[in-house]
Symmetry: C2
Subunit: 191 residues, 2 copies
DNA sequence: TTGTTTCTCTGAACGGTGTTCATTATTTTG
DNA sequence: CAAAATAATGAACACCGTTCAGAGAAACAA
């Protein structure tokens, strides 16, 4: 049953986006009444927490092939590109995973949720350690370095998702992301 | 009248945050009926567009002192710190200015709105050109460079505002921001 | 002064939201 | 088959943004 609700939620969510997905929509889609959802989920946030997890699962799947990139810095670059592509091609999922406030309410977080997210972040840290072993990022703390790198990627994606790329009216948003990423790589290469 | 509404809106907004600010709240605060607001503003977004502008005005004020920092790269660093401080100390304004979807609906943007935002962005570009004149960021396109730098700063602030710093449970969020910024500066220094 | 026009403001109403809960329907168990 | 346990309902509550016919006040004309 829980799975049925989640499937309906994902369908409506991917069709209409987070903003326009109501519990009544979801209930209607799976042909149950609104109240039923509350028998299986505490509230709306808990429903979307599950999709949140699924988002990370999807992202991790897209990152699997990267393990065959042997050179660590190349792997880091490839990771960045996958991240960027994930955000631009799964705007709604990205929004839900990294921007929307709901799924991060303090109660929900400590538990065993957010596991997939941690796994992705740990993967980044591993790659960074590999980079350091290959002579990159000398003397940097992996924690802070990973936070900065994640932030830089997230920053572009967040501006993209929330239409702030319009601040550059003469540039196409996707172009901006790609060229911005290139600048990023060039600068990282020298550090 | 328009000003009265805006003042009420800002009060409620700063007290309860964007999420919990309804037109009914605002109307109640200024002791008018909800309908009245629609005589002076097209809709909710238009009300918050004005606060959006005010946010940029506040940010620009905080950036004024920077013009006395002579060394361009130092000015850039100082600008980053001001940006970071603005975001952490004016979470709600920052959220409204750079994260929330509303104020960026396509209709509203082309007009003469978004002017303050552009002014801030242009100031960043100017500083970057000064940096280039001083030998930094050789051969980089200022458009893409500014987008990347803005993104990096925004990324940290956005993760902060939307509680994603919890992904680092062993680190204090403010510490994360500061150290993340330091990593950023170190890496920029070498480019 | 009175009548008319103009402008401002109201507040009920519409359709939407998340959430609760007494009631009904179904299934499982004794 | 009856009783207990479980599952599902859908009306109701309190909100939301938004609209609009009409009430009230002010300004102007006669």
């Amino acid at each position: 049953m829980r799975q049925l609700i989640l499937d309906g939620a994902r369908e409506v969510f991917l069709e209409k986006g987070y903003e326009h997905t109501s519990l009544r929509n979801i209930a209607e889609r799976i042909e149950y009444s609104p109240g039923t959802i509350y028998l299986y989920f505490k509230d709306k946030d808990e429903v979307f927490h599950a999709l949140h997890e699924e988002g990370f699962r999807r992202m991790l799947v897209q990152m699997q092939p990267l393990q065959h990139v042997t050179h660590p810095f190349e792997r880091l670059k490839a990771m960045g590109r996958v991240y960027l592509e994930f955000a631009t091609k799964n705007k709604d999922f990205y929004d839900l995973m990294f921007i929307i406030s709901g799924p991060m309410k303090h109660e929900n977080v400590d538990h065993d949720k957010w596991e997939m997210g941690n796994r992705t972040l740990n993967y980044l840290k591993d790659v960074l350690r590999d980079c350091q072993a290959a002579g990159y990022f000398k003397g940097k703390d992996v924690e802070y370095l990973s936070f900065f790198i994640w932030s830089s990627m997230h920053g572009m994606c967040a501006l993209y998702c929330r239409d702030r790329c319009q601040a550059y009216p003469d540039h196409n948003a996707n172009d901006l992301m790609e060229q911005g990423f290139n600048v990023f790589v060039e600068i990282l290469e020298k550090g």
